[in-house]
Amino acid sequence: MLKVEGLVTGYQGKDGFVRAVDGVSFDIEKGETVCIVGESGSGKSVTSMSVMRLVEFENGEIISGSIEYMGEELTTKTNEEMRKIRGAEISMIFQEPLTALNPVFTIGQQIVEAIRYHEPLKKKEAMDKAEDLLTLVGLSEPKTRLKQYPHELSGGMRQRVMIAIALASKPKLLIADEPTTALDVTIEAQILELLRKLRNEEDMSIMLITHDIGVAAELSHRIIIMYAGKVMEIAETSDLFELPHHPYTKGLLESIPKMSGARGELLPTIEGTIPGVNQMPEGCRFAPRCSFATEKCHQEEPPLQKVGRRDVACWHVEEFTASQVDPFHRKEDPVESNS
């Protein structure tokens, strides 16, 4: 239902043009929950903002590639045509719940606005619907909330309101861009629980962006691993956890805090840092941090290729997978796969 191919999105920065997303391809099926996982700065938000065609309002530009939604090409639509899709067909929840709501309008006004852009309801009817939406996202005393302003609500409550706004017109695709990063752990768990409920009960696809692969494990059917503006691996969630096909994926898996692990045990993390958008290495972008890197990796960029059921961008997939002798029992506390 959503098919992104060869997406390149760039920004006009202070020191020239930078490609924040550089040739990203993936798709999302109807009813599917797909997670995009990657470190900070890997281009996850830019990808989702490209799908919404919001990048051009923030000095960005989709340079090439195609975004097909329900068979329609989005990259060539006018803003007026995109307006009918934003909020109605594809909705988005943002990374920053504290600042995502307009401070001078009430919660009710902001939800009603979202409803009435796509459904010709009277104010009163829309208000009733807004109340139902607040109940759906689990806010107590929805009637009171409607009259409150964003600053009167906590971060978690505001994110629930954002979710209510996103659900206002029953979108077919919900993009949630790190909906819990700004929230504390207990609130995070509640919001994820809400997303899980929506995933199970509402008939929609979800594109969940996170840098927490543990969250992805719990919620997604498929996982897209992004690194430095590129897709590294796309796989079914269970496949991915069973046997990562890309060295970066493995690095991410090893950095999950394991609840059963001994306290104080150092978590293995990937050495080095993600390259900045204007200092991309030649060849494979992960090469400077990859222990499997060869001369070829430093010179030529690996294409995203089909390997069985998945897509992987690595020159040495076979050697790499072979090197992981039964990874499932290699460690004392195995990574739990999706159940």
Binding site: R83, F94, P103
Partner: protein
């Protein structure tokens, strides 16, 4: 709200006290009192008689408290030079100044916001540069010079607008004439505040349109017009309202020059008369009235502010 008003009232009393003390002592200590502006050939005896008649032989402190005692009952004394009650002289002139300043505020706010928004939305483009350049000109060119140029152009050369006066009033009042007389004074007085409003709107608008809630509005499917003029402008207005409060005193002092240029018989020209004639009671009266106008207009600004920004409503 009641606590807020009481608080404000207390602050205002203190402010009035400080302003009147400073003014009273300054004018009394300045060289050349009312006798300094008498006929050249007046004898020392005559001068002494005036001093005694006006009560100026008393110490300044005594006179100040006498003045305060009368002022709190609403009696601001009698003008030295016209022997009319100060209150009456001010009441006669104040409406003209209010006319001038209210029209200037309305014009400056509307034009300032429109130009500021255009400037922000066309950032870096020709329109932005033109507006910025004009703001700098407006701020830096002295208003009396600009006023005279306007008079030369519109009154002398083109003959479109009257060069001075407040226009026919009373039975002869006509709206067109009123507006024609107001046009140039309002324009000149605007140059003292309009550039600030334009620049402030520009920066406020630029800040607001990069906020996350603007992105949210677009993601809901809002029209670009609604995004800019409902979501963004409503937020950008909040700091603009507070700067209007700051600009009101500047507007009132600008009114003195503007009124002088265009023979606009308001408080501004009255204060010049009062200062030239060393008319102490009139100077004090005008000081009190102008201070009150500033206090009340700032109060209004704060009330409007609390209506526009829900985050301060709880505090007030």
């Amino acid at each position: 709200m009641i606590r807020f008003l009481l608080n404000r009232f207390g602050q205002s009393i203190i402010l009035l006290f400080i302003v009147t003390v400073i003014t009273f002592f300054l004018i009394n200590l300045a060289p050349g009192g009312p006798t300094g502006v008498m006929r050249m050939d007046a004898s020392p005896d005559e001068r002494q008689a005036v001093i005694e008649r006006l009560g100026l032989d008393q110490p300044v402190i005594v006179r100040y408290f006498e003045w305060v005692g009368n002022a709190v009952t609403g009696d601001l004394g009698t003008s030295f030079n016209s022997s009319e009650a100060v209150v009456e002289r001010i009441a006669e002139r104040l409406p003209y100044t209010m006319e001038l300043t209210v029209f200037t505020i309305i014009f400056s706010v509307i034009a300032g916001i429109i130009l500021g928004v255009i400037s922000a939305l066309k950032r870096g483009k020709a329109a932005d540069h033109v507006i910025n350049f004009s703001s700098v000109i407006g701020l830096s060119v002295p208003s009396f010079w600009l006023g005279l140029m306007l008079i030369l152009l519109f009154s002398v050369e083109l003959g479109w607008l009257p060069s001075s006066g407040v226009g026919p009033r009373g039975a002869d009042f006509d709206f067109g004439g009123w507006m024609a007389h107001l046009a140039m004074p309002v324009l000149i007085l605007s140059t003292t505040v309009l550039p600030n409003i334009v620049r402030f709107t520009r920066s406020s608008m630029l800040e607001v349109i990069s906020q996350n809630y603007i992105r949210t509005a677009r993601s809901k499917g809002a029209k670009e017009f609604v995004v800019l003029y409902v979501h963004a402008l409503r937020n950008a207005m909040i700091p603009i309202i507070s700067i209007i409060g700051v600009l009101i005193p500047r507007l009132l002092s600008g009114a003195v020059i503007t009124e002088a240029i265009f023979g606009w018989t308001g408080i501004g020209t009255l204060i010049i008369e009062a200062a030239n004639g060393r008319d102490y009671p009139l100077i004090m009266g005008i000081t009190v009235v102008i201070t009150l106008v500033v206090i009340i207009s700032n109060l209004l600004v704060d009330i409007i502010y609390s209506q526009v920004d829900p985050r301060v409503k709880n505090m007030a």
